[in-house]
Amino acid sequence: MSKQYRFLLLSLLVFALFLLDIFIGSVRIPFDETLRILFSRQKFSGGDYEIWNNVVLLFRLPRAVTALTAGVGLSLGGLCMQTLFRNPLAGPSVLGITAGANFAVALVVLVLGAGAAGQHVSALSGHYRLFVVGAAVAGAGGVLMIVLLISRFVGSVTILLLFGLMCGYLANSLVTLLIHFASAGQLQAYIQWTFGSFGSTSQSDMIFLTVLAAVLLVPAVLLIKPMNAFLLGQEYAASMGVHVKRIRIILISLTSVFAGIITAYCGPVTFIGVAVPHIARGVMGTSDHRMVLPATLLLGASTALFADLISHTPGFPGVLPLNAITALIGVPVVIWVLARGSRRAGIV
């Protein structure tokens, strides 16, 4: 199967999953009605039609778009990190950025959001979402600043990786401390957040995320060449004319900014970053980023949409935690990668 054919299939997959994610949800809406809502300019009045209209445009569409952009951004971040660190288990959270975001959100929800049993959030809850989003961005940004600072002075990526790991441990232990002192209501709100969800975005959020993802694609394309050089390691890359420090900063910043923003809007979404690049390499049969990068973007979108689809299983009014599902998909893939051995897996 030629490479172009594979890309075509992957694109079709994204398209199909995107549509499915809009057509299927816990509220039963007839297929043709959904089509009409999406594509016709008719106005609806009253009754079921109005509810369906609201559900499709206010809930399903933002959710599908969020899943798509999150999948694209997180899997791209994972690819960048795996290439930079030449480590198959790296992902967008490897530098402790998402742990920083987690900690900031825990701070907001568990400490500032007071309340007795039965209550979840308190006085600041009117701007609850704003605070949570802001905290996540600030937390991610803070850790990113420190990582970039260290990256300037440290040549070895291994040290950077270890530093990120330590940051992650630190942030997580601080969260444990906060949990220890939290009340049951606050705890539930925080735990709910850690499940991850593509469903809490509004239409304006959706537009922002789309623009962000589109903007992200430009540097991504320009990074294909240096990332291929990185396949040989930093030393060879430098000898071939790559500004190693500059590329490092760009890779780290790109990954972290997007991962931070996604974490802010969707909670911590795990595994997509780590697992998808491996699937992409397997599907395209090469480590060449000219093919792996676009494949990663397409597969990332597909995986996220697929996970979202499952978490909103039709007919069942509840929601399954997103992170449980991404892990269920992600873990077998990671195990498969390790089982194949590092050579055939296509990355050191």
Binding site: V27, I51, F59, H127, A189, G199
Partner: protein, 381 residues
């Protein structure tokens, strides 16, 4: 299990051989505890989850310490069960409590026993202003709860009784307290799914504070008011549809159709949108399901800590499409909240279901009690 059978045997023995004292404490609505009178003592059984549920059942022997023969009674009971080292005795009236939940505080006011509170779990979760000032003056200790419980402080306070909620797992304080030799009594009031059942736990407090008659009288009055209010609401034809709560991170948690809140809504003559869910536990709904049903709701209650309609819209713009929002029928139960975020609706509310019901009826059926001023509830502007 064996102790249950033995207790019944003792009971029959006593009942047959002596004239039983008539207990003032008939428990009609609450399923979580029952009181069995004995000669010179009572048996208090706490069985959260219902009488048939023996899993978490705990039995306490209540002995009136004011009686001259209290020591003899205690010894008799001990002798009846040789080999049982874990009989729980409580000598009432208890005059020194540590309460590990702010929801235990209100009855102490009703029976004027505020001085009996020596410790509370947290000042932030407390609404009661009098207790708060006593805490600030260090007359009452703050001892923490859950993994953060300060056992040393508890022991140093020398409580006669520590009252805890029954919670499973890490937050279950009973084994820790018992291991430290602290006398514990379990309170299961929050598991009640009927408003009167939950209010009836004031009799539990009455028993422990030596005020059974008062408790009974108070509850009877309360019951009457509640039932007449409910009957008045039932006579109207208007049944506005009601939705509750707000979603967090996409999921919308609502009380089940057989739950405490649902019972209130039914008694107040409302049509709770999930009244047919058939269970008392909460439902976790995904955003679109909950929204598609809530969008046509006439009235919307309980928006956590939200202060205004603008704030509500800021949380999620989709809320503005809900009918109740457009008609300004958004009412929060936080009219009585402290600066630390504690809400009296959950503290004194359970013991004043008649007030809650009156509030709700005045919201759902405004023509019935036009002079009523809302006590726990507040319209969002």
């Amino acid at each position: 299990m064996r102790i249950q059978y033995l207790l019944s045997a003792v009971l029959i023995l006593f009942c047959c051989t002596m004239v039983p004292a008539v207990s003032a404490l008939d428990v009609e609505y609450a399923g979580g505890f029952s009181v069995i009178p004995g000669e010179g003592f009572s048996i208090l059984k706490v069985h959260p989850g219902g009488e048939k549920n023996h899993r978490n059942e705990i039995t306490y022997f209540i002995i009136d310490r004011r009686r001259k023969d209290s020591t003899r009674i205690r010894q008799n009971l001990r002798n009846s069960y040789p080999g049982y080292s874990d009989l729980h005795f409580i000598e009432v009236p208890v005059d020194r409590f540590i309460l590990l939940s702010s929801t235990f505080v209100p009855p102490f006011h009703y029976f004027q026993c505020e001085e009996s509170i020596a410790g509370i779990d947290s000042i932030d979760n407390l609404y009661d202003t009098q207790l708060k000032s006593r805490l600030k003056r260090k007359e009452v200790l703050e001892v923490g709860n859950g993994p953060a419980l300060n056992l040393e402080l508890v022991l140093a306070a020398r409580p006669k009784l520590v009252m805890v909620n029954l919670i499973e797992g890490e937050w279950n304080m009973v084994p820790r307290l018992e291991a430290a030799g602290v006398p514990v009594v379990v309170n299961g009031d929050y598991l009640e799914s009927s408003p009167l059942g939950r209010a009836e736990w004031m009799k539990f407090f009455g028993l422990l504070l030596g005020r059974e008659d008062e408790a009974q009288r108070r509850f009877d009055l309360l019951k009457e008011r509640y039932q007449s209010l409910s009957a008045a609401a039932g006579r109207t034809d208007n049944r506005p549809s009601v939705t509750l709560n707000i979603p967090l991170t996409g999921s919308w948690v609502v009380p089940g159709g057989e739950s405490y809140m649902a019972a209130f809504l039914k008694a107040a003559g409302a049509d709770y949108l999930w009244k047919d869910s058939g269970s008392s536990s909460s439902l976790i709904l995904d955003g679109e399901t909950a929204f598609s049903r809530s969008v046509a709701a006439d009235i919307w209650l309980h928006q956590y800590g939200i202060r205004s309609l603008a704030e509500l819209a800021a949380v999620d713009g989709r809320f503005t499409r809900i009918k109740a929002f457009r008609n300004g029928q958004v009412i929060n139960n936080d009219a009585r909240t402290s600066s630390s975020g504690s809400n009296d609706f959950y503290e004194s509310g359970p013991y004043q279901p008649d007030l809650i019901l009156a509030d709700l009826i005045s919201i759902f059926q405004p023509e019935l009690f036009p002079e009523h001023t809302l006590y726990y509830y507040r319209y969002l502007e």
